[in-house]
Amino acid sequence: MIGSVLAVFCFEWKRSFTWPRMMWWLVLMCFPIFIMGLVRYNALNAISASDRSQEAFLTGWLVLCAWLLFALIPMLVAMLGTLLWTTPAISAELERKSWIYLAVRPHGSLSVVIGKYLTAVTWVFPPAILGLTIAVLLAGLSTWTEVGRVWWTMLRLVLLSVPAYGAIYLLIGVLLPRRAMTFAVAYTLIFELVISFVPAVINKLTVQYRLRSLLVEWCELSLIGPNGRPLSTSLTVIGTEPAWQHVLILMAMSIGLVGLSVVVLKSREFSSSAESET
């Protein structure tokens, strides 16, 4: 089984070195750098040199950079990268009619799904981490300690978000292979971008909620408003649970959803594009 997974993993990685995929890789890496550079350029132009060294500006700038990098890398890059590579794990093979070749091997279908998942996760890490490193350096944070703290926080968030989003999209791909992309995009928009901000218990089911809470805790971002009271919205959209709990839940979510995909895969009948989902 491990040998089969490894074979799929190596094959998928080899298949990744095509121009379109390399371009995507480059886009995922460069986009956060470009946005960070643009924001910094505009900010520096808008504020005088004397104001830039003031305490309030520096604190605000740190908060802005942390949220911006969070939105760009553990969110956008992780979501987009895994969406592109794990969602079509099965549908692509069904369309190419190569699924049957793989499915008739002893561990074929499981190896393909797990191998593709691991490929997607490891494929997204390099652009996310490279992009993060360059973007943090470009952000112009006031001290190296801040640079290090933001970078280390984002790195941990990337390491948690990529497997979690990958597992979600994989499950969607296994459950609904015919409209996998549509459902994955709908899930992202509805759950991760809307419901995660709904001040209700349901937002705790989203990856976003966990990542956001970890960002605030690890980056030590203040949730105190100008009046000295905690920001009312932050109380429900950012969790107060300890960090280890969020980490544990995200890891359990990744493993659990991949496991669920495997269970679903074993109980479904995919044979070809013409006869799938019977």
Binding site: G3, A7, V8, K97, V104, R105, G108, S271, S272
Partner: protein, 309 residues
């Protein structure tokens, strides 16, 4: 001899459509031709055997493994060559065979060794280093065949293995299949629409129509006519020869397209034919036991099924 594949009352429904209807079947070693018109249930039967679809009811065994329960073990024992032209794009021939070997539990190096060995057997020489997208139809057939047998399975299921091949390549492919069945003792389930292929290499025939088994018998038994007879073809004028035979009390019908049917079999009849031919100065092109043609058997089976509706 115990059957390698033993199916009892297998039924498969796709919603309200019944693809297989209480299929009971035993398949022994050697080559078994699986025939049926489009929509007869051949593909569904193959998928049930491979565990790709779950049967609605019934039970079955493949070797020592239970269908539906031991799918993984069954897949390790079966080599399947699908009909569809499906390839893992971006791979060379050798890589794609090695890849499926690895998926069949071979370590990478052993998989590569097996892949080379099998591609040699299948006649893919230097082409193995080209990407599969550049392959001709014949090469693709060979590659699919190589992928099916790379893990040395005792049971082979080959879906249209000779379609798209030129006559020479087709013959070579049939020889390979025959070799695997005869020399290596593999059980081959050969699913094809090309009846002469089945007639030339199969030991047994299964004919499916509308999800039901219409015929399941050895080809020798099926080919044997209900009344024993010999088929004779002559070189030269046949009338004096036929007249002479009739005088000897052999009831000979008028030849159709040069084919003379002689009732009965045995050495006495053959001796009479040879003797008469010598007397009449005509050459004997062929003298063989009469056989029912597979096409006739197939059409009768399918028509018979239709009449039963």
């Amino acid at each position: 001899m115990p059957a390698l594949i033993d199916l009892v009352e297998i039924t498969k429904d796709y919603g309200r459509f019944r693809a297989l209807d209480r299929v009971t079947l035993q398949i022994h070693s050697g080559i078994t031709g699986l025939l049926g018109p489009n929509g007869a249930g051949k593909s569904t039967l193959i998928k049930v055997l491979l565990g790709l679809v779950k049967m609605t009811s019934g039970r079955g065994r493949l070797l020592d493994f239970e269908l539906g329960r031991d799918s993984r073990e069954i897949r390790a024992q079966v080599g399947y060559m699908p009909e569809d032209d499906c390839f893992l794009h971006g791979m060379t021939g050798i890589e794609s065979v090695q890849f499926v070997a690895q998926l069949s539990r071979f370590p990478a190096v052993e998989g590569l060794r097996r892949a080379h060995e099998i591609l040699d057997f299948c006649g893919l020489a230097q082409e193995r280093y080209r990407t599969v997208e550049t392959y001709s139809t014949g090469m693709r057939q060979k590659l699919r065949f190589a992928q099916a047998i790379v893990h040395d399975p005792p049971v082979l299921i080959l879906d249209e293995p000779t379609s798209g091949l030129d006559p020479e390549e087709r013959q070579v492919m049939l020889n390979r299949i025959r070799l695997l069945a005869q020399d290596q003792g593999k059980a081959v389930l050969l699913c094809t629409h090309i009846l002469p292929d089945i007639q030339s290499i199969s030991d047994a025939v299964v004919i499916l129509a509308r999800g039901q088994v219409q015929v399941s018998q050895s080809l020798a038994d099926l080919s044997r006519p209900s009344i024993p007879a010999m088929e004779l073809r002559l070189l030269g004028p046949s009338e004096p020869f036929l007249e002479r035979l009739r005088q000897q009390g052999i009831a000979v019908a008028t030849p159709v397209n040069g084919l003379i049917i002689l009732p009965g079999t045995g050495e006495a009849l053959a001796a009479a034919v040879w003797k008469t031919a010598q007397e009449c100065q005509v050459g004997v092109r062929s003298l063989t036991p009469a056989r029912n043609s597979l096409e006739e058997i197939f059409l009768n089976a399918v028509r018979g099924e239709s009449k039963n509706e």
